[in-house]
Subunit: 324 residues, 2 copies
Amino acid sequence: MRVTVLSGGIGGARFLLGLRSLGHDVTVIGNTGDDITMLGVRICPDLDTVMYTLGDGISQERGWGREGETFRVREELTAYAEAIGAGNGADAVPSWFGLGDLDLATHLLRSEWMRGGVPLSECTRRLCERWQPGVTLLPASDSPIETHVSLVTGRTVHFQEWWVRMRAQIEATGFEIVGAEQATAAPGVIDALFDADVIVFPPSNPVVSIGVILAVPGIADAIHQTEAPVVGLSPIVGDAPVRGMADACLSAIGVPTTADAVARHYGVRAAGGLIDGWLVDTIDEAVVPGLVADGFAAEAVPLLMTDLESTTAMAKASLTLAAR
Amino acid sequence: MRVTVLSGGIGGARFLLGLRSLGHDVTVIGNTGDDITMLGVRICPDLDTVMYTLGDGISQERGWGREGETFRVREELTAYAEAIGAGNGADAVPSWFGLGDLDLATHLLRSEWMRGGVPLSECTRRLCERWQPGVTLLPASDSPIETHVSLVTGRTVHFQEWWVRMRAQIEATGFEIVGAEQATAAPGVIDALFDADVIVFPPSNPVVSIGVILAVPGIADAIHQTEAPVVGLSPIVGDAPVRGMADACLSAIGVPTTADAVARHYGVRAAGGLIDGWLVDTIDEAVVPGLVADGFAAEAVPLLMTDLESTTAMAKASLTLAAR
């Protein structure tokens, strides 16, 4: 069976571990809105998190970055910044960003290829030659896309600065997906949607991960039109995000942080929306009848990815729901 | 006393340790022909060697790069190259180059500033805010200059590739100082030559270090015209270079690897050359009368920079010669 998954970082990557273990032919369309250029290197956090996770290189403790990582370069950059001060260009050092040495090698190599004209999709394919993730990993687009966040203070910052530096503690009033309008889907992306037997929205951030993928022209249209069933798994369990700070993103676009509100945000495909089916956690079972009344195929199953076994069961449940 | 020194990397940097200890006002004009862009970062080996040496950050063992250096990023890049193979862009990895993690931080920061339009001279000043070398360190030029080497095989390679990767084992037939003709001296360089009380050519490579500095339009002219005496120290002791592979460079331009041939290569200033005085090692004392006959002020003194004391004595001897 051909399964196509729209994935963000940590949550999507964990889900993919479970899905992969079912032995299907999996294509992942990865979010690139978190991508950022720092110190001249192009960093693709979500693609790399999927790649490292499925390639068994991810830090188990952090869920992002590399296992056995060191931060020699970053420490040295910080030493420079402290010694020279703001008047001497210290602000060029992004001390708040967790740039590891092993991770930096990935970015340096990708950036060098990109300067030579190699598209991001081909860079990703090359990097995956090492990591052998067992899935086909595609960026949503080869065109540069960056999610910018409008803050209640009036400032606009890159998503990474809001998410990592400010820990989403400053209220966001909206998101701009810079570059999305001019972007085109990367080679293979649209085919992977039309040729899929099932399309899955894993428990990734519906706004800044899956939402950004859907903003690439052609992708939402293909999901509307494909014959494959489209199912999703709620990233909200018991009125709180399973991981991360998805509530801060949902609030900014006026969507309540509940398992059923996210489904309604995507909308039911029969009524011009994006999904046919939706899984919520057993703790949210009460929302199932309402979703069914609205035309969703919906079910409550355990949605906590505590280990590979539970994650595999979730993946299986999503495919079962799709088969209905 | 204001002393201006034209310096390459290791030899020049060590000499400067001795000169600095004499307490004069020292300006260093550093070679930039070794500079190279790798993986998108601008590497300035000679400037950094001077900066790290005088800033007490140099690897004592190697003479270049940082003390306590690690090579995590390079090892990881090499792991990529080995895993993905040539068809997947592995050739973008310069595994032959000793790119350390601490050193990389310097390059990343400098490159980030340069992308923002900050000239190399200002980048160097900022980096020196941390290292406090106790001298004014200027690049010969803010314009990019790169020494390329024509090989007997017909290929032309960047100096670094010849020097580091091939260890100068493949015969060079000539050097091209790419960018030199269009270059201008960096701010402060010409003034440092006209305002100096003494100009010193330390025992740096006469071809690819001092020779490249002299190729920047205006620098040789200023040395011809300045009222300051110009003295040099032979990088050749007993018919062999003190360090490195200067013989391979001298051969390529048809200069014998002897202490007096290098002086004659520079030429006596009274006859349109570049230097007034020349120090050779005591082992080469026999060449002194010939140099004197040719119009050089010449003397034989110990020229091995084994410790700070001997290096300081060399620096002192060069200033004494200049005062004659």
